[in-house]
Each structure stands twice: as structure tokens, then as C-alpha cells.
């Protein structure tokens, strides 16, 4: 069902730019303003500025890690709770299509990224596969910011979106690393034979195990399951304290998200100097690839029946790049890949772009596609 619809959409691509009239352009600008001038992206900007002027903000590592744990647990728990309600009311009828679309996108984006980087950008196999692994996976923080944005615009996303985040986390990294490991194995063997040194065994299995059992997946998927089970089997009164802690009417979540984004701004600020090293191709890739992936996310979300908020959030997570789970996995599997390229693209280009401009653009794309 998806393939013919996608072919039809491709036929209409040249017309997309032409139909953007002044009114729609004004709406895009309004969405950008509505997103940019809010505490979450502004805290990120503060972090960026602070690093550049050698300001005095220091977020203790333990606080940053504690916040990351809270955010992941909260996303998982509330997601599991909402998923249980959805399951109770509709069974799996509303979930299976978005889940399948997400899995498909998780498999597609690392392949398209690899092809663009290797053939378009003439990057080496290892560099292309390494960067593709980052862009095939997702960033939970981008999910949290996108979710805040759609709530702010009074278009909350479908309740099961956290499930889609966990689905998207692994396949992208796995596929890109498999491509990289398979294509570099021959090169490595030839090099080993020439130098007479033993060839280092690929650590692909170990790296994939690390990703599957990493903090993001364990906390988010684990709490999703806990939230799901406890919603189904606990009475409302007993469940309420847990729900209130993790949901906290959104207050605690949004507050700590500001602190997290401040730290992200500080870290991204350190990488800004590396932009000169990565070159114009990768800078363009870091902006255009998320736009392309985001459009695919919004489109497939729309086809799978997600609402406007859901399409926007799915677009944002498909467009985002992983900077926590992917880098160690890539270092273990593809040591030839230059980590400066992938981390700078993911953290200093794509992440800020999505937070500042991408999310409102995906919102407008979803609206344009007809999501309500």
C-alpha cells in the first residue's frame, strides 16, 4: 500500500515549492517564532553562547546523567501508560501501522544516508557508514523537545509515540554498521596480509549488544513495559503516585529538559570549532538530510494514520541523529571512521537545526500533507 502512494508523492515533488504561497510562508515563520522564543531552545542557545565566550556555567556530570535517567524513565513510563489505554480501547489496530512505518523508516534512512555520503560526498566507506549509523538512529531529547512543541501548539501527539522512539533506536545503527563492517572487511584483510600483522576481529556483535542493552533502550523500553503492565494490573489509586511523579503535569519534565538543553548547548558549543574541519558538504548534509528524512517521517506518519502532533514528532525523531548510542558503537566496529565528522554533524549541525528550525518545519510539513 505504501509503495504506490510514495511513487505518487515523488511525482508531485517539483510542485511542492511552487505551491508555497505567501500565506503558507507566513505560517512557517510564525511556527518558527513560536518554537524559537521558548525556554527550551533558548536554554540551548544560552549554553552555546556561554561556551563560546568562556562563560562560567558548569552542569555537574552527575546532575546531567541523573536528568537523562529521569527523562528516559519518564518518556518510557508515561508512554507505557498511554499505550495500555490505547491497547485497552482499540487493541493493536491503531498501533501496528505506525510501528511498521517506523521500522521501515529506521531501515531506510541509514541506507539513503550511506548512499548520499559515499557517492554524493565521496566519503570513505567507513566514514559514510559511521555517519549513516548516527543518522539512522534517533535522539530521545529531540523527541522530548518535539513533544513539548506539539503540546504547546495544542496538537498533542498520539499516545504511543514513545513506543516508536524505542523501535527507531536500534535498526538504523545495526544496518549502517553491517554495511560498513561488510564493505571494510576485505580492505582490512588485504591490509593485514600486506603488513603481516594479525587482522583485528570485528567487534560488530559486541557493539550491537552494547546498543541493545545501552541506557537509552533499557530505561525507555523497560519503563514502557513497566508503565504498560502496571496500568493494566494496578488500581487507579495505587497507580496515581507513580503517574504524578513521572508526569508531574509536565512541570518537572519541562524544567529538567531546560537544564538538559543547557548542557547540550555547552557540549555543542565545544564542537562549533570543528565545523571548519568537516567542510561544506557535511554541513549541507547535516541540514538537508534531516529535512528529507523529516518529510518522509511526516508522510509515512500521515499514511499510517497519525494525527498532526504525531506526524510532527515522528518526523522529528526520524530526522534526528543519535549522539549517545551511536558513537561508541561506531568506534568499536569501524575504527577507521573519523569520529569528528559524525559527532560534529550530529551534535553541532543536526541537533541545533532540529531544535531551532526543524521541528516547526516538520509541523508545517505535516499540516501541508493534510494531517489533523
Amino acid at each position: 500500500m505504501i509503495a504506490p502512494s510514495f511513487a505518487m508523492l515523488c511525482a508531485h515533488v517539483p510542485g511542492i515549492v511552487a505551491v508555497l504561497n505567501a500565506e503558507q510562508f507566513g505560517r512557517v515563520l510564525e511556527s518558527l517564532e513560536r518554537n524559537l522564543l521558548t525556554p527550551i531552545p533558548l536554554c540551548f542557545v544560552l549554553g552555546l553562547i556561554c561556551t563560546r565566550i568562556h562563560g562560567g556555567i558548569r552542569i555537574p556530570k552527575e546532575l546531567y546523567l541523573s536528568i537523562a535517567i529521569f527523562l528516559l524513565m519518564s518518556i518510557g513510563f508515561i508512554g507505557g501508560h498511554e499505550l495500555a489505554h490505547e491497547y485497552h480501547e482499540h487493541g493493536v489496530s491503531t498501533i501496528w501501522k505506525p510501528a511498521l512505518a517506523t521500522l521501515f523508516l529506521g531501515c531506510l534512512t541509514p541506507i539513503t544516508s550511506y548512499l548520499v555520503l559515499h557517492y554524493g560526498g565521496r566519503l570513505s566507506i567507513a566514514d559514510s557508514a559511521g555517519i549513516a549509523a548516527h543518522y539512522g538512529s534517533t535522539s530521545a531529547v529531540t523527541y522530548a523537545v518535539a513533544n513539548s512543541f506539539v503540546e504547546q501548539t495544542q496538537h498533542p501527539a498520539n499516545s504511543f509515540l514513545p513506543t516508536l522512539v524505542t523501535i527507531l533506536e536500534c535498526p538504523g545503527i545495526a544496518i549502517a554498521l553491517l554495511i560498513g563492517a561488510a564493505l571494510t572487511a576485505r580492505e582490512r584483510a588485504a591490509k593485514g596480509a600486506a603488513s603481516g600483522r594479525p587482522v583485528r576481529q570485528s567487534k560488530l556483535g559486541e557493539a550491537l549488544y552494547e546498543v541493545m542493552t545501552g541506557q537509552s533502550i533499557m530505561l525507555m523500553a523497560g519503563l514502557l513495559l513497566i508503565g504498560f503492565i502496571s496500568t493494566l494490573f494496578m488500581d487507579d489509586k495505587g497507580f496515581a503516585p507513580f503517574y504524578e511523579f513521572f508526569a508531574s503535569k509536565g512541570m518537572l519534565f519541562k524544567g529538567v529538559l531546560c537544564i538538559f538543553l543547557l548542557e547540550m548547548g555547552l557540549v555543542a558549543g565545544e564542537r562549533l570549532g570543528d565545523l571548519l574541519k568537516v567542510g561544506p558538504f557535511l554541513i549541507a548534509f547535516g541540514i538537508l538530510m534531516p529535512l528529507f528524512n523529516g518529510f518522509l517521517g511526516a508522510y509515512f506518519g500521515y499514511l499510517a494514520g497519525l494525527n498532526l502532533g504525531g506526524c510532527t514528532v515522528l518526523a522529528a525523531i526520524v530526522a534526528s541523529a543519535s549522539y549517545i548510542a551511536a558513537p561508541p558503537a561506531v568506534r568499536l566496529t569501524l575504527p577507521e571512521a573519523n569520529p569528528t565528522l559524525s559527532i560534529t554533524a550530529a551534535l553541532a549541525i543536526t541537533f541545533p537545526f532540529n531544535i531551532a528550525f526543524g521541528i516547526p518545519l516538520y509541523f508545517e510539513m505535516a499540516k501541508w500533507l493534510g494531517a489533523t
Binding site: 549517545i324 568506534r331 568499536l332 569520529p339
Partner: protein, 104 residues
Amino acid sequence: MQLYPLKLVTIVGETVIMQDIAKEAVGLGATGYTLSEVIGEGSRSARNVIVTGSSKTMKLELVVPMSIAEKILTHVSHHYFEHYAIIAWLSDVQVVRGQAYRID
């Protein structure tokens, strides 16, 4: 007090590989190791890879006899030097209770 002459192998490198190197060193005959988080900068940007909950750079220290030190340094230089941000050095040390180590 009797002191035993042994070698101290020190390896500083990116966190992502240091646990593996420690295990491999034990496999090559080291009786134990110390791994600590450190802060530093090198010529390779690879040390920028963040491993959740840990620092970017780690230091591995092993007190071993010369024969095992050679094996460890050869192994590390063959398998890790080309692509990873890593440095290794060897120093002479005098160890109390040195009989606990397999002296040559």
C-alpha cells in the same frame, strides 16, 4: 623490607576500548589492573567520543614482569595504535609483596 623489580605498563586511551584492553591484558598474563577516568587532550579528536556515565579518556595501569609487558605492548600496538587515540609507556617500579606477580 624486600622490594621486587617489576614493570609498570601505563596505557591512556579513549574510553570505548579501555575495558577491552584490560581484559585482553589479563588474557596475556597480567594478574590484575587498575582503570581510572582521567581528563586530557591528544592529537586525535577520537577522544571526544562520549561514553554515557564515564569520562572520555581512561588510564590503565598494570604491574607485570617484563615478558608479559612486552606481550601487552605488542598486542596493543598491533591492534589499536593505527585507528584509536591511545598512548602506552613502560616504567620500572619497585613493588612490595612482589611475589604475588609472576616474576620472570
